[in-house]
């Protein structure tokens, strides 16, 4: 919202030229009090403040207008007391001087409402020095032009300077605050009784000074400091400015109507002191209020931060006493908020030594009721200790520990199951491969026994030896059979398997590998995957194998081809999982014997993963097949699992009977 008073908006520049000039002349006329020889030298120059505000608003392009305004006033108000060209030069000098001041104020950022003491000091300094230069130039020119006798020069200088400075320091800040008049009025309405009393005190003081027909009013001028300081402490810079302005107006009025009044210029110097004091005090008050506001905000933020922090936060004195505890800390340790100051850190975190300025450690935290928990601790020495010296952050890691242990146990179970499956597959493959030559061996030996029968008469040991050889071969076969039976008889557990949860858990286990290889895994599960009766670890091994293979298949591909899709589908009797990858696919000659043991496309592979996966699935009544990706390359492994355990059992029988054929 922009009020009509936003004169500082440059867009208002040109229209206010037409307002500025007549207003300048009018103000000059109205405030033409106790001049020096009818020159434009009097001790109250609000028109100068108007000029500066105008220049601050429109910038250096306002210079000719200000010179023209001053010159017009010389003509209309003062009646050309010096040669016109002298006055013209003097007016140009004033315009140049205040344009320079306006530029300087803009450069130093002094055209904004006063926020700090430094800003106030700088403003008053700049105004006083600039005014002095302008005034000295003007008076010199006028003196040179013969309009001012030399004995009057010093008096004129003082009068003119104090008139400019006091007007600028009261009116320009007022203009600076013009934008804030709405909020100012709101504030005033809230403190209206106080403001009324303060105004009354100011009026009373003015009456005490000027209204009692005294001869020496200057002596009592200091009384005005009391209400002005009071107003400033209550209202800050705006209050200081307004009270100074009110007193200024009161003084002018008093001087106009009180015949006993002292010279206005003397009063103006006193008033300047009062205004400067008020202005600087106001700046201090404003600065302090802003600082308090900042502290309050920061404290509120800190409180909110501590209250919402997920961790327990304690502040601790150098001697180890607890100074404060946030709600999380109170809950974690079971602290009574009223008694927390009587606890020492040693009770809660035995063994924690705050020797360094900051640090981290892990140790056992102890609750008030005596139980303990694993805790991660970080602490830091506070930069500016008030009551506490250390900030201690405590995190209860019980849940994380438990999750870590669970994860480790699950991984161990999985790797045990995987090792068992590998050994079983190896034993099965070994038994099958070795039984063939042993069978041939036994048969040859028995044939040899028959062939050797006619020779038995010559040496009975021949038949005996052949018999022993046969027996040994049978023994070897028996060892193989036992070995294989040991792994095969591992009973299949039948438990309820939540397939959706299983998929999620497996996918999450691959998160790191997928991420580090920039692989996109699309998981496409139907909303309601059924629960299956089966061995969860074995199913996990299968899906784990397939996903791991898929990741290996796509890892060496260009980045935009690193895509894997895990999808599932279920019918009333069966569930199907598909692991499809956009990898290079599998050569047809390898694909034929893909599920045989020791067939692999990987340089460091054993070639057992797929053989094991198929064996495990078939043992549960399911199956695993490979489907080439076709034109777009890649490949797809399809897991088929029947839902009904009875049908599973029958199918298991049938498939195992065809099993391990290739």
């Amino acid at each position: 919202m922009r009020s009509w008073l936003s004169l500082r908006d440059p867009r208002f520049g040109l229209p206010i030229v037409f307002v500025y000039l007549p207003v300048y002349v009018l103000i000059d006329k109205l405030t033409y009090v106790q001049p020096v020889l009818k020159l434009d030298i009097d001790p109250w120059n609000p028109q100068t403040a108007l000029t500066l505000a105008f220049l601050l608003a429109v910038g250096p392009r306002g210079l000719p207008v200000t010179a023209l305004a001053a010159f017009t006033a010389e003509g209309l108000v003062h009646g050309m007391q010096a040669p016109w060209w002298v006055l013209l030069m003097a007016c140009l000098w004033i315009a140049c001087g205040y344009t320079a001041l306006a530029l300087l104020m803009r450069r130093w950022g002094l055209h904004h409402p006063i926020e700090s003491c430094a800003q106030a000091m700088r403003l008053t300094g700049a105004v006083m020095v600039a005014s002095f230069i302008v005034v000295v130039g003007y008076v010199s020119l006028v003196t040179f032009g013969g309009a001012l006798p030399r004995p009057l020069v010093s008096g004129a200088l003082a009068r003119y300077w104090v008139g400019d400075v006091i007007a600028i320091l009261t009116l320009v800040p007022l203009w600076m605050y013009a934008d804030r008049w709405r909020s100012g009025l709101r504030e005033l309405r809230r403190g209206l009784p106080v403001a009324a009393v303060q105004l009354g005190v100011v009026a009373l003081t003015l009456w005490l000074i000027f209204g009692l027909n005294q001869t020496d009013q200057v002596r009592f001028f200091y009384l005005l400091f009391v209400p002005v300081i009071w107003i400033t402490l209550r209202w800050g810079v705006p209050g200081a400015i307004l009270s100074a302005l009110a007193i200024q107006i009161g003084v002018i009025v008093a001087v106009q109507y009180d015949v006993h009044a002292p010279l206005l210029v003397d009063l103006q110097f006193l008033l300047l002191t009062l205004t400067l004091t008020a202005l600087l005090l106001g700046a201090v008050v404003t600065e302090r209020a802003a600082a308090l506001q900042r502290v309050a905000t920061s404290e509120a933020e800190q409180r909110a931060l501590l209250a919402t922090a997920p961790d327990a936060v304690l502040t601790v004195s150098a001697r180890g006493w607890i100074c404060s505890a946030n709600p999380q800390a109170q809950r974690l340790f079971g602290l009574d908020p009223r008694l927390e100051h009587e606890r020492s850190l040693h009770e809660l975190l035995p063994g924690l030594d705050l020797l360094c300025a900051y640090g981290r450690t892990t140790l056992e935290g102890r609750r008030i009721e005596g139980s303990s928990f694993p805790a991660e601790i970080a602490w830091a020495r506070l930069e500016a200790p008030a009551t506490a010296d250390f900030l201690v952050i405590v995190r209860d890691v019980t849940e994380r520990r438990r999750a870590e242990i669970q994860l480790r146990e699950r991984e161990r179970a999985l790797s045990d199951a995987m090792r068992f499956a590998v050994a079983g597959e190896l034993a099965s493959a070994l038994a099958h491969e070795l039984k063939q030559p042993i069978t041939a061996l036994v048969s040859y030996l028995q044939a040899a026994g028959i062939l050797a029968a006619p020779l038995a008469a010559q040496d009975a040991r021949l038949a005996l030896t052949l018999g022993k050889a046969t027996h040994e071969a049978h023994r070897a076969a028996e060892v193989l059979r036992r070995l294989r039976d040991f792994y095969r008889n591992g009973a299949i557990k039948r438990e309820a398997v939540q397939l959706a949860a299983l998929c999620r858990s497996i996918v999450s286990a691959f998160h790191e590998r997928l991420h580090s290889n920039a692989i996109t895994l699309a998981v496409n599960l139907p909303p309601a995957l059924p629960t299956l009766q089966g061995d969860v670890t074995q199913l996990e091994i299968v899906l784990h194998n397939l996903l791991s293979n898929a990741i290996d298949a796509v890892s060496q591909q260009p980045v935009d081809c690193r895509r894997i899709q895990l999808s599932a589908d279920s019918s009333a009797t069966a569930v199907t999982f598909q692991v499809r990858d956009a990898g290079p696919g599998i050569a047809p000659d390898v694909a034929e014997k893909l599920f045989e043991p020791f067939v692999t496309t990987k340089p460091d592979g054993m070639g057992l993963g797929l053989a094991i996966s198929r064996s495990l699935l078939r043992a549960q009544g399911g199956d695993l097949v490979y489907e080439p990706g076709g034109a777009q390359g890649g490949g797809c492994f399809i897991v088929h699992l029947p839902l009904n355990p009875e049908a599973q059992q029958r199918q298991a029988t049938r498939i195992m009977s065809f099993g391990a054929v290739t």
Binding site: A431, Q436, A447, I450, S657, V661
Partner: protein, 204 residues
């Protein structure tokens, strides 16, 4: 090959060689095939003996071979010899009509006993089959009336009922009956009934 022969089907050359040697030393003829397909392609209906097959083979495996035999109505007794002797496979093989199930490595005595038994069963089956063919031939030599009387007698009908059915007198039935029994060299009514049971109905 019409003498009883053991047909060995196994993908392992060593096993084929060793088994055929052992079988021949035990006084039996043998023929070896590397695959089930080879056996099926060379099979002749005149072959006698038994089939000794492995289960795990590339291409068609043992159980599939059993089914192929059943489809082609090849009645050769099947003995299964396998390295994986698990219960499920055994049950399936026996359900498919295997005569016996042996696990590798096999003892020669057991093997030869099983094979001889299988050959014996094949012979019996063959003899039964040829007796049946002879009976059909003899039946075919009867006149239609004699055939009809035989079948009705085998169905348990009395002479009077047969006469009524054939629209002839009971006396004539007697004549047909005695002529038929003479031709078939049957002495009692029980012999007639037994012979008639081996003849499918409607054979004329």
């Amino acid at each position: 090959m019409n003498d009883p022969t053991v047909f060995v089907v196994d993908d392992d050359a060593g096993i084929r060689d060793a088994l055929s040697l052992l079988i021949s030393l035990k006084g039996l003829r043998s023929a070896v095939f590397a695959t089930a397909e080879d056996f099926l392609n060379t099979y002749c209906a005149e072959w006698r003996g038994c089939l000794l097959t492995d289960l795990q083979m590339p291409g068609m495996h043992g159980l599939q071979l059993q089914r192929a035999l059943a489809e082609r109505d090849i009645r050769l007794p099947v003995v299964v010899l396998t390295a994986h002797g698990d219960v499920a496979t055994t049950r399936e093989a026996l359900k498919n009509g295997a005569l016996d199930f042996l696990e590798k490595p096999v003892d020669d005595e057991i093997l030869v006993d099983v094979l001889r038994n299988a050959i014996h069963i094949d012979e019996q089956r063959h003899q039964a089959a040829s007796a049946h063919v002879q009976a059909l031939e003899r039946f075919a030599r009867l006149t239609p009336r004699e055939q009809a009387v035989l079948q009705l007698l085998a169905d348990g009908l009395q002479h009077r009922d047969i006469a009524e059915r054939l629209n002839i007198s009971p006396r004539t039935v007697e004549v047909y009956k005695s002529r038929m029994m003479e031709k078939l060299q049957l002495r009692t009514l029980a012999d007639v009934v037994r012979f008639g049971a081996g003849i499918p109905h409607g054979t004329n």
